[in-house]
């Protein structure tokens, strides 16, 4: 039995296709990651699965309910932590949770008990009666997570739960998520942080331009490259890349500033040969490094770009219109 089965789910916004008919299944108790750059279609996918946006095509079964036929049952059985803040800052932490519990039809006794439990989980117990407007960004995010868990959902959606948080808070949130996973709740997490996906997820779907490029466990994903990554730093990266290409021993050299990187079956053996070829072509080499493929390399392999580069791209061109918060 799956916790969720998604089939050919698609979303178009007046002509622009944000999600292009994606399919995947998530097992019960699994922590499933959607990894992709800005504008990949992660939030749009979450909104459709949470019945907040109607799909243009395809459907999904969430907790045994079809999102099109039974949106109310779907909503009652899932919890969501949105990418953008949605707590009411003019209420206390307690009231935010209490009103949430009422909206989900919880009785008074269960509400009180759950409020204590979820606040303890995210270490906000002492802040229970404080107005949320006095909370820091990290505290608000933790409160959002607590609220998403308040009604003990079977599936929890976390849309970029650590976006914009400092490393320490991020670590904290990772530890809450790991704790939840050990309690058996199914979690769908979106992120564009590679290390987050690598660290937390059982399986990862790499999503780009509304399509799932590849889906597997982090270990298998890294195994796909099947070798090493060689990175060479030089003042003449373009020339060096040409030399490497002519050697015909590897695929796709990639230039990023002064560094040329490429995948190689047996990196250590190839290094002397590359050095020799570079010497012959009179190219100075500053440094050379052989490493095991990271998730970043896998991402580049499948999308042709680095997730970091896209993140740094000027807004508006690659990201399109940001569609959140209004």
């Amino acid at each position: 039995m799956y916790a969720m089965e998604v089939s050919r789910l698609a979303k178009r916004f007046n002509g622009f296709t944000a999600v292009k008919g994606i399919s995947f299944s998530v097992g019960k108790g699994e922590l499933f990651g959607l990894l992709g750059p800005n504008g990949a279609g992660k939030s749009t996918t979450i909104y459709m699965l949470a019945t907040l946006l109607e799909p243009s095509d395809g459907t999904a079964n969430v907790n045994g309910f079809d999102i099109r036929a039974h949106p109310d049952q779907v909503r009652g059985s899932i919890g969501i932590v949105f990418q953008d803040p949605t707590v009411d800052t003019r209420l206390s932490a307690y009231d935010n949770l209490d009103i949430h519990g009422r909206l989900y039809g919880m009785d008074g006794k269960t509400r009180k008990q759950r409020i204590d439990e979820v606040l303890a989980l995210v270490e906000l117990t002492e802040w229970k009666d404080k107005m949320v407007k006095t909370f820091s960004g990290g505290m608000r995010r933790r409160l959002e997570i607590a609220r998403g868990l308040m009604h003990t959902p079977k599936i929890l959606f976390l849309d970029e739960p650590t976006l914009g948080l400092d490393p320490q808070t991020r670590r904290h949130i990772w530890s809450y998520i790991s704790k939840l996973k050990s309690q058996g709740i199914t979690i769908i997490l979106t992120t564009h942080y590679l290390e987050e996906a690598d660290y937390l997820c059982d399986r990862i779907a790499i999503i780009d331009h509304g399509e799932i490029k590849v889906l597997d466990t982090p270990k298998n994903l890294k195994g796909i490259i099947g070798g090493n990554i060689i990175s060479i730093e030089s003042r003449e990266p373009q020339k060096l890349a040409d030399v490497v290409t002519r050697m015909g021993c590897c695929r796709k050299p990639r230039i990023s500033e002064m560094t040329v990187s490429f995948e190689a079956k047996d990196g250590a053996k190839l290094v002397p040969k590359v050095m020799e070829a570079a010497l012959k072509a009179k190219i100075d080499i500053e440094s050379i490094e052989v490493h095991m493929p990271s998730l970043e390399d896998v991402f580049i392999h499948y999308t042709g770009t680095s997730i970091r580069e896209e993140k740094a791209a000027p807004s508006g061109i690659m990201m399109g219109r940001r569609a959140h918060g209004y």
Binding site: R90, L91, R102, L103
Partner: protein, 250 residues
Amino acid sequence: MDIELSKIYAVWLREVKRYTNSKSRMVSSLGMPLLFLVALGGGFSALVPGFNYQAFILPGILAMTVLFTSVFAGVSIIWDREFGFLKEMLAAPASRQTIVIGRTLGGATTAIIQGLIILVLGFAFTGTPVPPLANLVGILLLMIVMSSSLVAFGIALASVVQEVETFQLVQTLLVMPLIFLSNALFPMDKMPVWLQDVSRVNPISYSVDGLRTLMIGAGSFGLGTDFAVAFAGLVVMILAASYLFSKTSI
């Protein structure tokens, strides 16, 4: 049904908590009506000897307070959209209808509290004699109907125009004219004819007229008409709000 009621209560509770949590806004939104009552009322009373203008506009000021607070409460869905809380409500297993009703009742509650404060201060400041209990009950009923329909009106509006910038426009282009182009501040029979015509099609005039009849016994449409118009407005606005809000998405 029980569960749906408790969800309506949840939405209501949130409105009321937000209101009681921001005392400063509570006080500041009383400022304008009080200023009108004291300055405008006092000024005109001196101008026209023998006419207690303050007592005359007290019902108008009451309607003004209820109108401002109610429309503001309804339109504040725009802010919920901007600051994200709307997503929390739409993601909950509560129907759109439940949200509309809860918000309407919540907004109406705050508007009625504001109205009652003005009423008490008004009676105290202007020396208007307090009407008998039956009239007070009628005043309260009219305030409930009026505020509910105006909150619903605000919700309908916020479901159609979704930009925060619109918010200020609503205040100046809709809410102010509703008061000034009614019988709230000026006696109908002293108005130029065009203004009389406009006031007569302005539904606010009927609520003001009802309040005035019940407070100082000087109305012109008849209580039956006043209440009929108020209730009809309520039905229309609730239907409009439910329909338009059910069409909105995040």
